[in-house]
Structure formats: C-alpha cells, structure tokens
C-alpha cells in the first residue's frame, strides 16, 4: 500500500471511529435522561397538592405522576403549557422539560369545592 493510500485509508477509518467515540460518550447520557427521566409523584387532595413545591432543572426531562385522593382536580400551568385532569383512581402522567428558569404557580383548574380557589403548588425551575 502506498503511503498516500494508507493515509487516506486510515483517515477514513479513524474519523468515523472518533465520531462514534464522541457520541458514545455523550449520547447514552442524554438517551438515559430521556428514556428514564426523574419521576415525581404528586398527590391532589382538596384543597392542596403534596408536595406543594418541586424543583426542576432547566432542560431536565422529568415525569410527573399525578393522582387524586378524592375528587377530580385540574393541574394547570400556562407558561409550561400544562393543562391536565387528575381523575380519582387513575394516574395522569406528564413528561416535561422546562426550558425557562423561574418560579411558577400551578393551580387546580377543575372546580373542586369551597376552597378551590386556593389550591395551588409551586414549580421552581433553576
């Protein structure tokens, strides 16, 4: 094999290998985050959520698992485009990846009784 051909051949083999190596270092991390996001359980019960505050990281994919202990509740947060129903006996799953940092108030927007207007929780995105 001529020297010039050897260089071409080596380059053709090495560059893809390097690229593969780079992706193999980064990609699994991301894929792992997307496929196995952090799961946060949130329970709704008149007239509050438990926990009443969660903290997320900007760009982090998380899965919220929402359940109700009594009646149907809502889970509404306009800035993150969340508008879900939490029906007793069912689990509402919601995957989100907030891209904006801030403190957001999530409300129950399904009328659930006399103190419904104060049913809320906080989502902090850092």
């Amino acid at each position: 094999m001529k020297r010039s051909n050897w260089i071409k051949y080596s380059t053709a083999m090495v560059i893809p290998a390097l690229l593969l190596l780079v992706f193999s270092l980064g990609a699994p991390h991301k894929a792992q985050a997307d496929e196995n996001p952090r799961v946060i359980e949130i329970t709704a019960k008149r007239f509050g959520f438990t926990p009443n505050q969660i903290t997320l990281k900007k760009g982090e994919t998380v899965k919220l698992r929402l359940t109700s202990e009594d009646v149907t509740h809502g889970f509404f947060l306009r800035p993150l485009k969340i508008d879900e129903e939490i029906v007793p006996g069912k689990t509402t799953e919601l995957t989100l990846r907030p891209e904006t940092a801030g403190t957001f108030t999530t409300i129950c927007d399904h009328f659930c009784g006399v103190n419904h207007g104060n049913m809320k929780m906080t989502i902090v995105v850092e």
Binding site: F111, G113, V114
Partner: protein, 331 residues
C-alpha cells in the same frame, strides 16, 4: 347614508351605581340630527331599530358566603337592589354575571341559598333580569341546580336592537366554554351583520387576565375568534371582584365589582387574598367608585351626567363607542 355617519350610531355608557354598573345604550348621533336615518339603517340590518335604554350589571353576590373577610352577608347585594329601585331612570334589564350563590356540598343548602338569592333579586323593579352562572353556582354539579331554578345557562336575546349573548364558562367545572357552545355561538351570530351591536355577558374573563389566579377561560381565544369579526362587541364579566377594562381588537371587556368582597390588583399583590374588610367603610371596593365630582363644566347629578372615559371608538363601524359614565355614588 354616508359611511362616516354609520360610525356614530350607538353609545353604551357604564355608570358606577355605588354597587353594580349601569350601562346606557344611547344613539350617539342624536345631537347631530342623524338619528332617524341611522335607526332606519340599523333597523333594516338588524331587524329592530336601536333605541336608547339602560341596563345594569351586577356580579358575584355569593349568597351563603359567611367567612372572612366579609361579615356583611347579603347587605351589599340588598343595598344594590335598593339603589337600582331608586334610580330616577329605571333600567330595562339587569345582567347578573355569575356567582349568585356560594357553593355547598349539600344540595339542600345550596338550593336554600339560591332561593335566598332569588328572593332578594326579585325585589328589583326591573322588567327583565338575566343571569349566567359562576363556578360557585354550577362548578360542582355541572349546573344542574342552576338550571332547575333559572333555566339554560347559555342563551341569547335581542333588546331594542342590541343582541345579548349569555355564555357559560363554568358548568364544565373547568374554565372553558366548550366546543358545543362555541358552535352554538357561531350559529347564533350568523344572522347578524358585522356591524350589529353585541353584548356578551359571562362569568370569567375570556382572555388571560391572570391565569395563575384562575382569571382566564382556556378556550377564550376560540370564542374571540368567533366574536372578533363583529365590529361592536362588548363583553361584561365578573369573577375577579374588581374593576377591569381591556381592549382586544374590536372587542371591549369590562369586569364588574363583587357584592361580597374585593380582590386586589394582581399587578401589585403577591397572592390572591381578599382585601381586608374595613368596618368604617363597609362597602369599600364593592362597587363604590367615586372618580370625579365633575368633569369640565358638567356637574355630576342624580342622572347620568359625565362622559368620563371613551372606551370604544371604531372608525368604520355602526357604533361610535362604549362610554363609561360615572355617577355620584351618594345617589
């Protein structure tokens, strides 16, 4: 009729009554002598000529509410009824924009509250009183009790050339109108020309006023898509327990104060908490709205006197605008 004439054909005026808001629909062109011509124009278009009349908006009586900060119960509501009955010019109709009652888990208790509400409301010497539900009337049972007492929660009617539309954005438990009602709204409006004067009354704001305080209607944009081709639309609502005015294209939104307690300005308040009760001024923030003693050379009298704020001006529409007129609350 020249195109420019059509601009000034009707004005609607809102007046602080002390409690509640009085609106006056008057032909703006009366002074210029064009009124007859304009009535003919609109009569042909709308099927009925617009003639001057007044109506009152009341909201959020919450009959049955007995918690802080309000120790007055129905006193503000009853006072509003008395004031309306004492008006020198009796309004043609009253529009009540929801939360007539405070909700109860027990149907019998809620029914009793509705009876109490109607007992007070029916004291008004007004030919027509029209209602829409609030979430405290209809949120828990989908509006069943409300309909037993007051019939359908969305409907429309014409009065002296103005088309009134009652929209229900509470009975689905969530703050929404729903696709069926939006389809009905489209059908209801189809027979009207784009210049028709339209008054929508509903409970929640149809726009995102403060979503984290639940001051919104989730499909309000779809409702506005239906309304926005019409050039003369006024939306009256309650729910927020305070004054608010918003212009959205051709559509103008006005909130009425509550008859039970007031909420603060969401721009300045960190939380949605009622304004504390002031025992020295028990009706403070419940609709008493002394803005001017006089404007220019015109004193505020017992009758509607002052054109305080020009709220609606449209260039090529049939209505010159909605004017808010403020009256001495000592009336």
């Amino acid at each position: 009729m020249q195109r420019s004439d059509r601009r000034s054909f009707l004005k609607m005026a809102g007046t602080s009554l002390g409690i509640g808001v009085l609106y006056t629909a008057v032909p703006a062109a009366a002074a210029s002598g064009e009124i007859g011509e304009m009535f003919d124009f609109t009569g042909k278009k709308n099927g009925e000529r617009v003639t001057p009349f007044t109506f009152v908006q009341l909201s959020d009586a919450h009959v049955g509410f007995n918690g802080p900060p309000d120790p007055l119960g129905t006193k503000a509501f009853e006072r509003a009824v008395e004031m309306i009955n004492q008006l020198p010019q009796q309004p043609d109709l009253v529009l009540f924009t929801g939360d007539l009652t405070h909700d109860s888990e027990e149907k019998d208790v809620h029914a009793q509250r509705m009876k109490q509400f109607l007992g007070i409301s029916c004291r008004m010497k007004v030919p027509k009183i029209m209602y829409v539900p609030g979430e405290h009337d209809a949120g828990l049972d989908g509006g069943t009790l409300y309909r037993e007492f007051l019939g359908e929660s969305n409907y429309s009617f014409d009065h002296r050339g103005v088309h009134f539309i009652a929209l229900d954005n509470v009975s689905r438990a969530k703050p929404e109108v729903g696709p069926e009602q939006i389809a009905w709204l489209k059908k209801d409006l189809a027979r009207f020309p784009k210049s028709a004067p339209i008054v929508v009354f509903t409970h929640r704001p149809l726009f995102d006023l403060k979503p984290e305080w639940e001051w919104f209607t989730s499909d309000g944009d779809e409702v506005m898509d239906v309304l926005s081709p019409y050039e003369n639309v006024t939306v009256l609502y309650g729910h927020i327990h305070r004054d608010h005015e918003q212009e959205q294209g051709h559509v103008h939104h006005y909130a009425a104060r509550s008859l039970i307690f007031a909420f603060p300005d969401p721009e300045n308040a960190p939380e949605k908490k009622p304004i504390p009760f002031d025992k020295d001024h028990p009706f403070k923030n419940l609709g008493i709205r002394m803005v001017h003693e006089k404007v220019g050379a015109r004193p505020l009298l017992n009758s509607v006197a002052v054109e305080d704020v020009e709220l609606t001006v449209r260039e090529f529409s049939g209505i010159n605008g909605v004017q808010q007129i403020l009256k001495n609350p000592s009336l």
